[in-house]
């Protein structure tokens, strides 16, 4: 573990560039600043892109009055929301209510500590990077449950209960699909995984990408799994009682999670900062936006699943497929070590299609009436 000392770059990796501010604290300080700026600007950017993008999907224009092309819309939103009255429900649990947004927000920022923006340009190149991401990212759920509990509102509590059930279930296929990536790359460090992707892993691991994308959508509560703030059912879900700055934090969490998941998918499956011609950082940014585009494309297209169907989808569909994917990847890694990647790509694509079509013919959602 590298936390204890200055970053060690080992193997053939290049050393810290000489123009970095020297030493341990300088590096940390710089990257904390970079991460904060990166996350906050990207959240603003995402909000703008999503609102404009969804408006286009819906044959509308979208925000265009505030600043050029409505670019300042998120800024105006942020200023307004931050300066609104902050209400704490009289019968709520005040401490929990106050702590919840903080608990939800901090882990999201922590994820970015191990995401490489460039070759070696990351806060801490942990050799257990992926495990760290998985461990930290699920902590947000605690904040969400605290919000649901502390509000003393039935809708909030329903949303919070849904959140716990959903995140716990989807963690498993998420991790299993990651293991296949680790098998291919031979390392848990995110930077090493990017370096191992001469071919983006989405081509070698199409099924893994599929599972990871869906599970990640569920983890960050995006449609079709946006049960915990399902507007047509439980009003605003866990943050029904939140206003002002604390609501702003939850809003921020929602989009920061989207940034985090987009960044991780870009790193794990789309070969991160690697790419021709453009500088690596720009490549990384482009891929992040591409993944986010996919996420909100899904959001504006598909209806929502029901809570038991979401569970069934995780346990009966994604989990078996994730196991099969892991098995197939393991066999391929052993058997086809020296084989050119191109046949593997086509074989894997074919396997994915066969598995998804085959399994979905066994697996049917629907029904679900309970006798009372």
């Amino acid at each position: 573990m590298a936390i204890a000392g200055p970053i060690t770059y080992y193997g053939t990796l290049p050393q810290v560039p000489p123009d970095w501010p020297g030493g341990f604290w300088g590096h940390w300080g710089t990257f904390v600043g970079i991460i904060l700026v990166f996350v906050l600007t990207l959240v603003m950017g995402f909000i703008w892109v999503e609102r404009r993008g969804i408006a286009r999907f819906q044959a509308r224009v979208g925000p265009n009055r505030v600043g050029p092309f409505g670019l300042l819309q998120p800024v105006a939103d942020a200023i307004k929301v931050l300066l609104k009255e902050d209400i704490i429900p009289a019968s709520g649990d005040k401490v929990v209510h106050w702590l919840a947004p903080v608990v939800a927000f901090v882990p999201v920022l922590l994820i970015f500590a191990v995401v490489p923006f460039w070759d070696g340009a990351l806060l801490a190149d942990l050799n257990i990077g992926i495990l760290y991401v998985v461990a930290v990212s699920s902590l947000t759920t605690i904040g969400i449950f605290m919000a649901g509990w502390g509000s003393n509102n039935k809708y909030s509590l329903l949303g919070a209960m849904r959140a716990i059930a959903q995140v716990v279930s989807y963690e498993i296929p998420l991790v299993l699909s990651l293991v296949a990536v680790v098998l291919l790359a031979g390392s848990l460090s995110l930077n090493d995984i990017v370096r191992a992707q001469n071919i983006p892993f989405i081509l070698l691991q199409p099924l893994g990408f599929f599972i990871f994308f869906l599970a990640a959508c569920a983890e960050i509560n995006r449609t079709p799994f946006d049960l915990l703030e399902a507007e047509s059912e439980i009003v605003a879900g866990f943050h029904t009682e939140y206003s002002g700055m604390k609501f702003a934090l939850f809003y921020l969490v929602e989009y920061a999670e989207a940034v985090a998941i987009s960044a991780i998918i870009a790193t794990l499956f789309l070969s991160g900062w690697r790419g021709p011609l453009l500088p690596p950082f720009l490549w990384f940014l482009l891929k992040v936006f591409a993944v986010f585009f996919l996420i909100f494309w899904v959001r504006s297209t598909i209806p929502r699943l029901r809570v038991d169907q979401v569970m069934a989808f995780a346990w009966k569909f994604l989990l078996p497929l994730a196991f099969l994917n892991l098995l197939i990847t393991g066999v391929q890694v052993i058997v086809w070590q020296g084989v050119l990647p191109w046949p593997v790509i086509f074989v894997n694509l074919a396997i994915m299609v066969v598995l998804i079509v085959g399994w979905s013919s066994f697996f049917r959602l629907g029904g679900g009436r309970v006798e009372v």
Binding site: L158, P224, P303, R306, G366, G368, E371, V372
Partner: protein, 367 residues
């Protein structure tokens, strides 16, 4: 260990994003499962029936606009039919055709909203309803052309319609009618085979045939349960007996069937519109009657197949210029009767979409 758990009561509404107005469901939940439902209504009770007793027959037409504000033309038609029955007034042929054209356009507009709002309840983020509203705007343009209003038209009058259509109406309508089947196919194609939509709606909220008849359900709710009952065929009014169209019915009576019936009805409405445009004769659009008139003592019941179901007006006259009793048989209210049977045992999310699939309009439920 036995954990103590007890059902808890959640108020869905009266202000809730998907109760289509100010409807309130007092739901008792066991976890996510609905164990009891009690609909509470009356939050939009405006006393139209009482107010109408103090207005003349003609002055009451605007009140009917505001009953089911998504289908004002159909309401006007039902009320005018009842008054004409009461006073023995006949309508010129062109007036009848115009009424049919407006009623069918209104059915299209209302079903577009119904389908869009239903998908919104299923959790599709605004996209379907915005596309449906785009088509509805085109229909509203036509209404605006004839009546100058976008929502509350008061276009039909006792003895016909208020004025003849402008010259450019029929060509514009022809263009719209030619394009509409394509749009219906496109939207239906996007929705009907969506796996999530099927999983959410197939087999959910079943209303059996016997129960549907027993609770006096009407309109798409009744037909989705497999009862072939449409006032336009069963008791033809206006000039509906001159058109060829089918009555779409469902088999299971679930939310999916109700959706299918609505989409099929939209196709049939386009068919009727095509025929009506081809057949419409020249001539007067309205029998001239004074604005204030005294129908003979008696009573009359006029009913039409409104988009939401059988809409009827029961009028009692005491020979004065105002109705002695003005009663509206509101399909939205009566279709809600079986809500409890349909919802119990399902999850909260299902309760929302079952409610959405009935397609009610609060203005008509509470009146």
């Amino acid at each position: 260990m036995v954990l103590k758990a007890e059902p808890f009561v959640v108020n869905l509404g009266p202000v809730h994003p998907s109760t289509h107005g100010v409807f309130r469901l007092r739901a008792t939940l066991d976890g996510e499962v609905v164990v009891n439902i009690e609909p509470v209504i009356g939050y939009l009770h405006r006393g139209i029936e009482k107010l109408a007793e103090g207005r003349t027959y003609t002055q009451n037409i605007p009140f009917t606009d505001r009953l089911d504000y998504l289908a004002s033309m159909s309401n006007n038609l039902a009320y005018c039919l009842a008054v004409e029955k009461l006073a023995g007034i006949t309508v010129p042929e062109r007036g009848d055709y115009l009424r049919v054209i407006m009623a069918e356009l209104q059915r299209l507009a209302s079903h577009l909203i119904a389908v869009g709002a239903f998908l919104n309840d299923c959790g599709a983020f605004m996209t379907p309803i915005l596309y449906m509203l785009r088509e509805r705007e085109k229909i509203l343009d036509h209404f605006e052309m004839v009546s100058g209003q976008r929502l509350t038209y008061a276009y039909m009058r006792i003895g016909g319609v208020s004025q003849d259509i402008p010259e450019e109406f029929l060509p514009a309508l022809g263009k719209f009618v030619a394009g509409m089947p394509g749009y219906i196919d496109e939207y239906d194609g996007l929705i009907k085979e969506n796996e999530i939509f099927l999983a959410r709606t197939k087999g959910v909220g079943i209303l059996p045939k016997d129960l549907a008849i027993n609770i006096s359900a009407s309109g798409p709710v009744l037909r989705a349960s497999g009862v072939k009952w449409d006032i336009r065929k069963a008791d033809p009014y206006s000039v509906y007996d001159r058109f060829e169209f089918d009555i779409p019915t469902g088999t299971a009576g679930d939310c999916y069937d109700r959706y299918r019936v609505r989409v099929e009805e939209m196709r049939q409405s386009v068919r009727i519109l095509q025929q009506a445009m081809a057949q419409i004769p020249k001539g007067k659009v309205r029998t001239e009657i004074p604005l204030t008139f005294r129908p003979p003592v008696g009573e009359a019941y006029g009913h039409v197949e409104a988009p939401k179901g059988e809409l009827g007006f029961y009028l009692v006259s005491d020979g004065s210029i105002a109705p002695y009793r003005f009663h509206c048989r509101a399909p939205s209210l009566i279709n809600l009767t079986a809500l409890r049977d349909m919802m119990i045992g399902w999850k909260v999310a299902d309760a929302i979409i079952i409610f959405g699939s009935i397609d009610i309009c609060m203005g008509e439920v509470d009146r």
